[in-house]
């Protein structure tokens, strides 16, 4: 008895005992689950197989980035869905970042009225569920915008209607390679020039207007190439044919609603993050920078922002991740993203809940885990080294 007592009193052995007990419990629980699944599947005459991925999907997707028709396989439908998720996340992130940073800075501005407006924007937006934002925007686009025949006409090339947004589509012709080439050259030049000017500044203290020079090089070089090679880009302008527009680039009402909703909703969170990040920089830093005579823009760019960035970027990334995960709510308005294709229609048509949901969840899990790994790496890299 005292022997057992001793084992229990010894910290090391006690830890091992506890862990073994936990392992046994978990193992029992998992095997219980698997047994249940087996029994249930046997009773229903089901099995687990992924062959359904290769049979024709048989449903249509109205917005796609790669060619797709309803004779393609479920696998391809899933990929189209995944790309659609990526598409809306991409647009949403751009909108959210732009709006969020602007609002965050306005909230910090000395202007009382503007900062109050920004404050109430944030409060209103983030206290309303994202699903409502999506449905509301969808409702606005469907119910408020006019029919294609009376579409809002922007300079005769873009049209907004309740069937979606049509904008001109750039078509590339022969000679476009030159433009691409010069674009790459412009970027390489600006990287080299950045390094050179930094070196020069360290050596003799000269400052070049690096930003403006680089910007003009990156824009002008491809532009010159564009004119030299005889303007190899033409625009395909959407035209009204019958009940709807044909040609041009198409943004479905669902995609537009989702982009607006996700962008506007996430912007409220980003605004708070940006504001907190800027406020987190010690006031003394700003005052010190001002006292050595830096201009306000330099104070911001050289002193405040680099330090705020350290605070801002990790939560910002997690907001981007949230936006991407929230885009799965697309199913509520019928935008065909990953969940709506593979986890929605494919699931219903094939009856393979287990397989489709496992695939969908694994994809989301992979994306978020890899992004968090990237974030951990970044955090370690920019961490202040404590003494």
């Amino acid at each position: 008895m005292s022997f057992l007592n001793n084992i229990w009193r010894n910290e090391k052995s006690r830890e091992i005992i506890i862990q073994i007990v936990v392992l046994i419990c978990i193992g029992w629980f998992l095997s219980w689950l698997i047994m249940n699944v087996n029994a249930n599947f046997k009773a229903l005459g089901k099995d687990i197989s992924f062959e359904f991925l290769f049979i024709p999907a048989g449903y249509d997707i109205n917005q796609y980035l790669i060619d797709y028709n309803n004779r393609d396989s479920h696998l391809r439908a899933g990929i189209v869905g995944l790309l659609n998720t990526g598409l809306v996340a991409f647009f949403g992130i751009i909108l959210a970042t732009f709006l969020g940073v602007t609002i965050g800075i306005i909230r910090l501005s000395k202007n009382w009225l503007a900062s109050k407006i920004a404050y109430w924007y944030v409060e209103f937006t983030r206290n309303v569920p994202i699903l409502l934002h999506i449905l509301l925007w969808h409702g606005i686009i469907i119910n408020v915008l006019p029919h294609p025949k009376k579409a809002i006409n922007i300079a005769d090339v873009s049209f907004l209607s309740n069937r979606g947004f049509y904008i001109p589509k750039p078509l590339t012709e022969n000679g476009i390679e030159l433009v691409y080439l010069f674009f790459v050259i412009g970027i390489i030049f600006s990287i080299l020039f950045l390094k050179y000017s930094k070196k020069k500044q360290d050596l003799i203290g000269v400052q070049y207007p690096v930003f403006w020079i680089n910007l003009s090089v990156i824009i002008c070089l491809p532009l010159i190439a564009f004119f030299v090679s005889g303007m190899p880009i033409s625009l395909e302008i959407p035209v009204l044919k019958g009940f709807n527009f044909r040609g041009g680039m198409y943004m479905s009402p669902e995609l537009a609603a989702l982009t607006f909703a996700l962008g506007i909703y996430t912007a409220a969170f980003i605004a708070e993050i940006v504001r907190a990040g800027i406020l987190a920089v010690d006031k003394g830093q700003r005052e010190a920078a001002e006292s050595i005579g830096l201009r306000p823009s330099k104070v911001m760019n050289l002193v405040v922002l680099p330090q705020a960035r350290r605070v801002i970027i990790p939560p910002l990334t997690s907001q981007y991740l949230n936006l991407t995960k929230n885009s799965s709510l697309a199913i509520a308005i019928g935008y065909m993203d990953l969940v709506a294709t593979l986890g929605g229609i494919s699931l219903n048509q094939t009856g393979r809940e287990m397989e489709t949901m496992v695939i969908v969840m694994l994809i989301y899990l992979c994306v978020s885990l890899s992004i968090s790994a990237l974030m951990n790496w970044y955090n370690n890299r920019v961490k202040l080294v404590g003494r």
Partner: protein, 369 residues
């Protein structure tokens, strides 16, 4: 140097220059301090003008509050048609809960305030006594809402709906997820490798997938994992998923709080001879919880807002009712009105939660400032 000239008191302080204080001073400093600032003010005023003009007109002045159908609404005025909401307000609040039994919901709702008061306000008089009520409230609520005992008729879960459903899922999820979240956070910080790995896997999985996929699992797959023949209601399955989902997020918030506690606290606890559970109970958790209040409340708000997702798997939460109302040919196409109505409900309740968290934070703040 003639000091005598400036004898204190004989030359009273001049008043500050007019234009730097008072109403005009405030306006000058806060709205028109520079050119760009003035432009921003003008821009804001224009924006506000259009917003208020549009909103007040559409919301109130041109709005129709009672009519029989959308067409009738439009005949009366061209603003919002709130009739769709006012005619169905019962459904928006109670779902399809039988009308004669709705008093049960009302009683539970008011009892909820009494039950939560001692938990939310630590200074309440007779708190000990009220806490007993909080303890038995869940049983009371279950009996009242669900029925089936004491002569109360049993109400099927699929009749639950509206804001009542939001509150049921939200509050149950919030109450259940906090303890699980704390356990997960402690597990993730544990020295025991097996426990830690398990907690990390659970947390990362829950945080990595969208809630909607978990709800699909709840609605279509959870029964496969149960012994054949078990069949428990979709509402319970959904609440379980919500609880686990927000527990994972709460765990991460609390972990942040635990990690923010200075090492010296643990060393002091060890020096006093406290064991692991005592340290956790008296040192770690009180401090960690205090730090993580804003994060925890944000997670709660998130969970509360996410309850709207149940509409995707066919439960009749306010959004489900909204869709049902719009499917009615009489009210077809009034989506904006109903969605704004539901949005206002969420706005008010979430704002209340975040204001409470600010108040609590201020109350518990013991920083020396």
């Amino acid at each position: 140097m003639n000091i005598e000239t400036y004898k204190p008191g004989s030359y009273p302080d001049l008043p500050p220059p007019s234009g730097t204080v008072g109403f005009y001073g405030w306006i000058k400093n806060n709205l028109f301090s520079s050119l760009s600032n003035s432009l921003l003010t003008l821009l804001s005023v224009t924006l506000l003008y259009f917003l208020i003009d549009g909103i007040v007109g559409w919301f109130f002045l041109d709005a129709v509050f009672d009519a029989d159908s959308k067409i009738e609404c439009r005949k009366i005025d061209n603003g919002a048609c709130w009739a769709v909401v006012s005619r169905r307000i019962g459904q928006f609040v109670y779902g399809f809960y039988p009308e004669v039994e709705r008093w049960r919901i009302d009683i539970t709702f008011f009892a909820m305030f009494i039950a939560f008061a001692p938990l939310l306000y630590p200074d309440l008089p007779k708190r000990k006594f009220l806490l007993w009520f909080s303890g038995i409230f869940p049983i009371l609520a279950y009996l009242l809402i669900n029925g089936g005992y004491f002569g109360l008729s049993k109400i099927e879960y699929n009749l639950f709906g509206g804001f009542m459903l939001t509150v049921i899922i939200g509050i149950t999820g919030i109450v259940c997820s906090l303890p699980i979240g704390i356990a997960l956070a402690l597990g993730r910080q544990s020295k025991l490798t097996v426990v830690r790995t398990l907690c990390v896997c659970f947390i990362e999985f829950m945080r990595g997938v969208p809630l909607i996929t978990l709800l699909f699992v709840a609605s279509s797959m959870l029964n496969y994992f149960m012994p054949p023949g078990t069949n428990f209601s979709i509402l319970v399955r959904v609440i379980i998923m919500f609880t686990f989902f927000s527990a994972a997020y709460i765990a991460e918030v609390i972990r942040g709080g635990i990690q923010a506690i200075p090492q010296g606290q643990y060393e002091a606890a060890e020096a006093l001879g406290l064991n692991y559970w005592q340290t956790t109970r008296f040192i770690t958790l009180p401090q960690a919880m205090k730090i993580s209040i804003p994060g925890i409340v944000n997670t709660f708000i998130g969970l509360y807002k996410d309850t709207t997702l149940v509409v995707v798997i066919g439960l009749l939460d306010p959004l489900g009712i909204a869709r049902a109302s719009m499917a009615d040919t009489k009210w077809n196409g009034l989506s904006i009105e109903v969605y704004i109505f539901v949005a206002l409900f969420f706005f008010v309740s979430c704002l209340a939660m975040s204001r409470y968290s600010l108040w609590l934070e201020k109350k518990l703040n013991t920083d020396h400032k």
